[in-house]
Symmetry: none
Subunit: 192 residues, 4 copies
DNA sequence: AATGAATGAGGATTCATTCAT
DNA sequence: GATGAATGAATCCTCATTCAT
C-alpha cells in the first residue's frame, strides 16, 4: 500500500496505521511507533517532520492508493451501469482487503488532525468527481431520476462504508450475494 | 440533551462534547474541561470516575437521546412506509439539530476508547433493532425484496450519515426536497 | 534575596540560580531543578510558564534586589562624593555577599535568553540612572571634568565588576584597603 | 582571525562564533554548524573531538589573536604612559573591530564550559602579565600610587569591557574623543 | 461537597555523536 | 578524507489523577 515510499517510511507508515487502528491516535506514541517499527525516533524524525506529518502522509497514501483501485477500468466506453458497479465493487473489495486503511480514512477524514489542504487534495484527486460525473450522465440518459449527483454519490458511499464496517465487526457478512444485492439496490434506488 | 443528569454532570458533558468536536479528544484535557465548564477538577472527579468515564457517559447520553427521538411515533399501526420514513426523518432532523452529538457518535462509535459494553448496550437499547424488524415486516409483506434486514438498515443508515456529514461541512444542502428524495429512493432501493 | 515570592517560587529560583552558576544554563535541566528543589516539575510549571520564565524572573528578582541595596542611603543631601562612594561600596558589598546573583547578572545581561523588555525594565528601575545624575551634578559643580555621565558610570561599573570577579575567583583579594583604594581612584579618575 | 587553522577548521570556528553570538550556545547545534559552514558533521568530527572542543578552540584562538594585537608595539623603550595607552587602545580597537570575538570572550571567560586549563593557558600567554609588569614599573617610578598591579589591570580592563559593551549595544558612542578621555582618566586614576 | 495545588509518568522532539558507505 | 543517515538518551513540557484544606 505504501510502495512509493522508501523502506524506512514504509515501515513507519505501516506501523503507525496498525497502531492507530489497534489503540487509537492518542495512545499511539512516537516511542511506540519507534519500538514496533524497529526505527529509532531520531530516524523517524529524519524522514517525517512531526507526528502530524506522519498521520497526514498516511492519509494521503491511503487515499491515493484507494483512488487508483476504485478507478481501475473506469474510463472505458462500457455502459454506465457496468462502470458504476465496477467502481463501487472495487471500493468494497479494497476496503475489505485493507480494513485498516479503510477504518483510518473513516475515522480521520473529519478530524482536525488532518490538514485541510490534504483533505482538499485528496478529494480533488480522488474518485468522487469521476463518479459524480457518471451519475450526471445517467440522469441525462434518463436512466436516473433527476437529483444532485453529489448527493447520490454520498448516499451510496455511505451505504458501502456502513455495510463494510458492519462486516468488519462481524455484525453481518458481506459475501458475493450481498455485494450483488447491494449493487442492485443502488441501481434501483435512483432508476426511473 | 443531558436532562437526566444533574447540573454539574450536565455542564461537564456539554463542555466536553463541545471541546471534543472543536479540538479533538487528545487536545481536550481535564483542566480545559474544568476551566470551560466552571467546575473544578476535584468536583469533576467526584461525579465521574475518569476521563474515559466522561466520554463513555457522553456516548451513552447521546445514543439514548437519539434513540428516543428516532423512535418517536414509531410504535403505531400506521403503514410500514410511513413509520419507516418517519424514523429516518427523525434521525436526519436530530442529526442536523445537534450536529456535535451526531459528529461525536460518528467519530467514536468505532473507537477503542468507548467500552464494548457501552457500545453493546447502546445497540441493544437503540433504534436499530426496531427498525430491522420493520424491514423484516416489509419483506414478509412482499413490499421489499428478500434481504438481510441488518444489511438494509446499515445501508440506509450509512446514506443518512454521509449526506448529513456532507451537509454539515457545507459540501451539499439538505433541504426539504432533498430529504424527500432521499426517503423516496430508500423505498425504491428495496421495493419489489 | 527572593523574599517577595512564595515558598515554592523561592525554592525554585534559589535552586535554579545555584545550578546555573554551578553548571551553566544549558546543563540546568528542569528535572534537575525539580530534583534539587524538591518541587515536582508539575508544580514548577504551575508557578512558572516555562524555563525561560524562571530565568527571566531570576533576572528581575536579582536586579530589583540589587537596586534596593545600591541605592540605600543614596537620596540624601550629603556631599556628592559621600553618596557616590556609598553607592559603589553598596554594590561591591552586595556582589561579594551574593556572588551567585552577581555572576548570573554578569553572564546573562547580554544573553538573548533574557527578554528585551525585562532588560529594559531592569535598566529603568535600576540604579544606573540615579548614578548618572550624580555624575552630572559633579560635572556641573566643577568637581569632575566634563564627560558623558553614561560613559563614566559604565567605566566605574566595569571596574567593580572585574575586580569583584577576580576576587571571587581568588585571583586577587578585595579587602577593606582595596575597596578604599578603588573608590579613591574612582574619584581621582575624573576629578579636576 | 583563525588564520593559523586549516580551511575546514577555519570555516567551522567562524560559523560557530557567528552562531553563538547570534543565537546563544544552547541553540547552536552541530547540525546547524554543519549546515551553515557547508561542512558535514562527519568532517567536523574529523577535525574536532567534540562540540566542547570547538568552543574551547574558539576561545583559545580569539584570546591568542587578541594577545598579539594588544601587545603590538608594546615591548619598546618608549615611556610607560605611551606603551600603556597604546596597549589599551589596541584592546579597544580590536574589540570594536571584532565584536563577536569580544562578546564571546566576555560571555564565556567565566563559564564552566571552557576548560580550566584553557583559561589558565590563555591567561599565561595573554597580555595580562606584561601589562601588570608595566603598572608595577609605573609604581616603582613613582608615577602611580602603590597598589596591587593585578587590581589596577582588572579595574582598567573592566572599564574598557563595559564601555565597549555599551558602545556595541548603541547605549553610548565610543568615538576618538571618548577613547582619549577614557585613556586620560586611566592615567589620572592612579597617578600621584 | 468543592477546590485547585501537587504529583510524576509519559508525551513529542532534539541533538551530540557514530559509522557504513 | 568526506558524507549524512542512524541512534537513543535527554530535553522541555503536559495532563490525568489525588488529596489536604
Amino acid at each position: 500500500m505504501f510502495d512509493k515510499y522508501n523502506k524506512v517510511q514504509k515501515a513507519v507508515l505501516e506501523t503507525t496505521l496498525a497502531l492507530i487502528i489497534e489503540k487509537e491516535l492518542q495512545a499511539t506514541s512516537m516511542s511506540l511507533i519507534a519500538k514496533r517499527s524497529g526505527i529509532s525516533t531520531g530516524s523517524i524524525y529524519h524522514y517525517f517532520e512531526s507526528k502530524e506529518a506522519i498521520i497526514n502522509e498516511l492519509y494521503k497514501g491511503i487515499v491515493s492508493f484507494n483512488g487508483l483501485v476504485v478507478l481501475e477500468g473506469f474510463f472505458t466506453d462500457e455502459p454506465i451501469r457496468t462502470r458504476l458497479e465496477r467502481a463501487w465493487e472495487n471500493l468494497i473489495r479494497v476496503s475489505l482487503k485493507y480494513p485498516q486503511g479503510f477504518q483510518f480514512i473513516e475515522q480521520y477524514s473529519f478530524s482536525p488532525y488532518i490538514y485541510d489542504e490534504v483533505k482538499q487534495a485528496a478529494y480533488e484527486e480522488g474518485w468522487c468527481t469521476p463518479l459524480e460525473k457518471v451519475y450526471q450522465e445517467a440522469i441525462e440518459a434518463k436512466l436516473f431520476r433527476p437529483m444532485e449527483p453529489k448527493f447520490m454519490v454520498q448516499m451510496h458511499y455511505g451505504s458501502i462504508v456502513y455495510t463494510v464496517k458492519a462486516s468488519l465487526s462481524h455484525y453481518l457478512t458481506m459475501d458475493e450475494a450481498a455485494i450483488r444485492a447491494l449493487l442492485d439496490s443502488f441501481w434501483k434506488s435512483f432508476s426511473i
